[in-house]
Subunit: 734 residues, 2 copies
């Protein structure tokens, strides 16, 4: 006998269990999806289009004028006439070349050398990062492995600072329940979540060498290359290629294969023909235990570890909603052919929050603290109408229903604060809403925090209202109900549908098939059951389709009793919704590097020096200590200051080499060290701020406390600048 | 032509490249090796031995007296005579049962119910830990996976506190270079390190069901069971079984198999026969990239990531030695049949330090800071002579050569400070030196920090001087020299051996074998070369064994020239030694749980309450805030205090349920929360210390600062106890 709660139709419920995830599953893990969004502004698109048309016209004018010239020459026309025609032809060619330059500039975005500048900027950043060991390709002495990187000392410190701030800003501030689950995950868990069947990318193979490529990448590269470098293609062709780029993520294996054939795309390295696209599962597979019979995977995200523990966590929280659980940890994705440096890697750190909430009460008590924030948002409507992101007040976006609910809005606001406090430039940060076709069918709403970098707009945080999907999936697979209860202040009377099958009669009638018939009867939704009840009452029997048998059976009146009963209920049982902010830590850090990097001329003006303008919160080393010259007394003072910095828990570096102070500053500017203490006397020292290069003079004993106050955020540099004597940088900087 | 530096013999050098690692490799990763050391104290062993002998004698007395009784009865002896004989027999049986109890007590260690007590204590700890979600078996709703555990909120906080303290105590204090490398590791790296070939355990299979067991575990269980439960075995048999336990780690597959056969050991679950033991590689294997052609493994330790980066790290450190690199991260080991809860798991967090040092200068500048420490040490000699660990002053151990060098000693001292500051009981912590046969052949010295728990003495930190082994292995395999240089202040004149083979003559004489002969000639060490030189000068030719050919060849004077040349050298090039402290974080945390756990009666005396006496540094939550009764004003005060605690970065929990204050204290004592703020007025509040249950009274505004000062270690509870009014616990505790 099964009792259906009257207001929930079973078809809605089962809808949640049949995810048509396909490649859509990726949208769950925001840091993974397509990196660069091709959404040209309408003005730009129009100008590109008319330029291509004008260029095509100019080309045909040139051809016809060429014919004219040839005809004149053939007919031995007068020299003056021929010269005039040639002059006209040359003028047309000149026009064409001007138009080509304009078109080139337009397709490259920001001026004729836009992409070149981006490339050069990226190279400067990446060179500095690799040279100073922020990161390096892993296993370099063995020629490395694509998509695997090591963080060296400064990168490791930056990561550790970002993660501690994450813990402070989210876990501590919201009293979240942090958990720490293994990376090795048994197959059943990832079968339930859909990853085993659907976490794939489409791959093609070089038919001769067997080298593998991501099918969509090849198509994307082909389209981009054509649009950006082939100025002769027609406006129609350009529009077609752009359309392909826009729908790339939605193409099936067959459609992708057809496009690759149509465009004649071959293997990039060998020009060999390519196989048809086929799905490749992106999880690293392994085997748990010695038997070889228990397949396992390295987790592709940390979230599942939280979902499977829902019951214990709910209990730990005193059986109360809402609450959030959080996890920081490694995730793994066996990319087909990783590229784009730190942005697409095979192993990465995720920080994920699962905020469990009653689907009927998605308000948030601290929502008012973020409602006044205003920042770049890119709602669905603006994307569809080909407009740009614009500044919207968060409270307005929620009240107008652009953002689905308060809790989702609250997290969007908190993510904005998190990223900007780390040093992400707010003008190169936008929150982009997923388009309807981009979102998993079960999701209520989904926004990505995208950061603009030299690679385009990068998804760094995904904030999704995933409704009850994940808990449902694991309840179903494990048989353990992952539900919450709301106790009513006083019992409520509810009407319930009761379907009671009479096993004895059913057994006589259906024998071995009895179980399937019973299950089908009990699975009827309210309308089906009431229709059957009516038919049985009027006709005494009814034809009933049992899908597990694939045929109709005859149900008689004595086989089932269907009724609606009034019951007093003391609580409501439901599957919580989950709102999931998911942070790709490595991507955030890479974007932070780009946003923090700048160059300035050396004092002598003979070279460009690199600087990272990290806020103290993020800086890998907070402070350096330099004796101005090599001198035992100064070194002793430096060591005393170093000891007090260690005691205060401030990471620092002492440099007693005889190198010029200017060179030592330059070296540490490149590591983004915000403050430098220079020992130039035994009683007082100078403290220099990295970006302004301003210096103050403080007593030796004050050096560590002053640096501590500005690095832990209790004071700003402006505060200390106002309170201490200034030091002219002249003699010291040399 | 090859130039050998005169002082390094080639055989020593190549010796490093031929590791006979075998199962010895495990000793590298200290947290993995055998958990429980069977080193009974000599007194105890002696008493057990004599008890067994006495028991055997008693048994034979009983048998002979039994015969006497039977004989008397058969000969119809007088009743009084028979009765007297029976009485004597009963007296003997009574003696025997007393002796059995004594023996039982002796073999169980600490009294007749010693093992039962340990078991009960462990159950109490583990129950509390699991119930309060310090940890839980992973994927529980899917019935879990052996050897995988999740840390729930308090466990996760403890881990995070332990790791931050580790970073503070080691990385920051010593300016170590922290790195962060991927878990996914290509085969070549682990081939070089020896793990692919040798990182195995011996496994046996149930011949009928295929279930796998660790061969040494079965043998160990058999021996322990026999010794502890079978009181009838002879003293000789007991000694034999103990010997087997002692040499267990050194048995080959054949020897293990023979013992299993000899003792008739069968599969524990089915009693089926077992297969012969064979090696099972303990690494989780996977495949990198889509081709299926690049095998990879989940790293079994973090150290290799540091070794392969030596060159870059050395450069980062200004090409100076010594320096240390450190890494915290997940490591993986596909255990055959994990048991012992958190102590033997398939995925765990390691924190490893690789301190690179010139092998000729192993002093340490900060050694004097730890030299006076005195703690339990268990040097090789004490173990061999079956004595116990004893208190030794570290400085003395180093100066007497018990500890190989100052740097190793320095780290032993730092590890001692680290563990005891976390709350490990110094009386249940010892540093045990590896026996010669336990140590890898290349290691100079190795000490394990062992912590006593209910499972016995657990290796939690390994501190090894691994000499140049790892850097050599990767230099060899990658072809990239991983070396350091010492620049001489002025050039030094050194004598070098030069072996110049005359290719033309050798070619004529040996044709296709020429290469092998040349290699053998150039591989001679100094003595061999000089002997050859002398022979050639006197006899003109010499017989020379070429091992790669497996035969003697005749070398003539014109084929090779051997000389010693003087050269000026500006620097010395060498492979640094590495001293490696390696921390099994999960094991340390588990032992900390046992050392911190105690029970005390509730106020009413009707139940035993659980308490973890974590120091504030470790406590998952530093403070709770309780309104004494449910009351809006008190709740408002509680929220104000909660806000200021958040601002001060102090993790805390606010509990506004109406539960009695005593119950709320008990709940948080079980989480090891050191301080509780109870709001019982709107102007001032009480702060209670967990272990003493003492309470002070402070103003509302002072509550957060006072808690901060005692949790961040600036003050002790004694300090604040001396400075604030005391509060009688009577009314509040109820």
């Amino acid at each position: 006998m099964r009792i259906l709660i009257s207001l929930v139709s079973s078809s809605t419920a089962t809808g949640l269990h049949l995810p048509s995830l396909s490649r859509r599953l990726h949208t769950k893990i925001s840091p993974f999806s397509t990196l660069i969004h091709h959404k040209p502004s309408p003005a730009m698109a129009a100008s590109e289009d008319s330029l291509r048309r004008a260029l095509a016209e100019k080309q045909s004018s040139i051809e016809s004028q060429g014919n004219t010239v040839r005809a004149l020459k053939a007919s031995n026309a007068e020299k003056a006439t021929v010269d005039e025609a040639i002059e006209k032809l040359n003028a047309l060619k000149l026009d064409k070349s001007v138009m080509e330059k304009q078109l080139q500039a337009t397709v490259n975005g920001s001026g004729p050398d836009g992409s070149v500048n981006k490339e050069a900027f990226r190279q400067a950043v990446v060179n500095t990062l690799e040279r100073r060991l922020f990161y390096i390709p892993s296993f370099k002495i063995y020629r490395g492995v694509a998509g695997l990187y090591d963080y060296g000392p400064p990168g490791c410190a930056v990561k550790s600072n970002v993660l501690s701030f994450w813990r402070q800003h989210f876990v501590l501030e919201e009293n979240m329940l942090e958990v720490d689950c293994p990376c090795v995950t048994p197959e059943v868990v990832l079968k339930a979540s859909g990853h085993v069947d659907k976490f794939t990318d489409l791959m093609v193979k070089d038919e001769k060498t067997g080298t593998c490529y991501r099918a969509d990448h090849l198509l994307k590269d082909f389209c981009n290359e054509k649009i950006q470098k082939d100025l002769s293609i027609s406006a129609e062709k350009a529009a077609e290629l752009k359309h392909v780029l826009a729908i790339l993520d939605d193409l099936s294996a067959e459609e992708l294969g057809a496009k690759i054939k149509e465009y004649g795309i071959t293997a990039p390295d060998t020009k060999n023909p390519l196989s048809d696209p086929y799905p490749f599962n992106l999880m690293f597979q392994t085997s748990i235990g010695p038997s070889g019979l228990s397949p396992g995977y390295m987790r592709p995200e940390t979230a599942q570890g939280i979902f499977v523990n829902f019951k214990d966590l709910y209990y730990y929280n005193g059986n109360k909603l809402p609450f959030a659980a959080a996890q920081i940890g490694q995730a793994f994705r066996n990319e087909i052919s990783p590229r784009q440096g730190l942005l697409r890697v095979r192993e990465f750190t995720l920080a994920e929050i699962e905020h469990f909430v009653d689907p009927e009460y998605k308000s948030h008590p601290k929502y008012s603290e973020v409602a006044d924030l205003e920042f770049l948002m890119f709602p669905r409507e603006l994307q569809i109408s080909a407009q740009s992101a614009k500044k919207i007040q968060l409270g307005e976006a929620v009240s107008k229903g652009i953002v689905n609910n308060e809790t989702l809005g609250y997290f969007i606001g908190r993510v904005y604060l998190f990223l900007t406090r780390l040093g992400i430039d707010k003008d190169r940060l936008r929150f982009r809403q997923h388009l309807a076709n981009e979102m998993a069918h079960y999701a209520a709403d989904c926004w990505d925090a995208e950061i603009e970098s030299s690679y385009g707009w990068i998804e760094c945080v995904g904030i999704a209202d995933r409704s009850a999907y994940d808990l449902h999936a694991h309840s179903e697979k494990s048989g353990v109900p992952l539900v919450a209860h709301e106790k009513f202040s006083e019992p409520k009377e509810v009407e319930k549908l009761v379907i009671a099958s009479v096993k004895k009669e059913l057994g006589l009638a259906f024998k071995g098939n009895q179980k399937k018939v019973v299950e089908a009867l009990e699975a009827m939704n309210e309308k089906e059951a009431l229709d059957m009840k009516a038919s049985l009452e009027t006709k005494g029997e009814v034809e009933f389709y049992v899908c597990t048998l694939g045929e109709n059976v005859t149900i008689k009146k004595n086989m089932v009793s269907i009724s609606k009963e009034k019951k007093k209920e003391h609580q409501r049982t439901f599957t919580p919704s989950v709102i999931e902010p998911s942070f790709g830590i490595g991507r955030i850090i890479y974007c932070l590097y780009e946003h923090s990097f700048y160059m300035r001329p050396s004092k002598a003006g003979d070279e460009q020096l690199n600087v990272f303008r990290f806020p103290p919160l993020v800086a890998p080393i907070k402070c350096t200590v330099f004796p101005l010259v090599q001198n035992q007394q100064y070194e002793d003072v430096a060591k005393i200051i170093s000891k007090s910095l260690t005691a205060a828990g401030i990471s620092h570096k002492i440099d007693i080499t005889g190198t010029s102070i200017g060179k030592r500053y330059a070296r540490t500017d490149e590591l983004g060290v915000p403050f430098a203490i220079t020992v130039d006397s035994i009683s007082s020292v100078t403290i220099r701020e990295r970006d302004s290069k301003d210096q103050i003079r403080v007593d030796v004993e004050e050096a560590a406390p002053v640096v501590k106050s500005v690095t832990d955020g209790h004071k700003t540099w402006a505060d200390v600048w106002a309170n201490f004597p200034h030091h002219s940088s002249g003699p010291v900087e040399d």
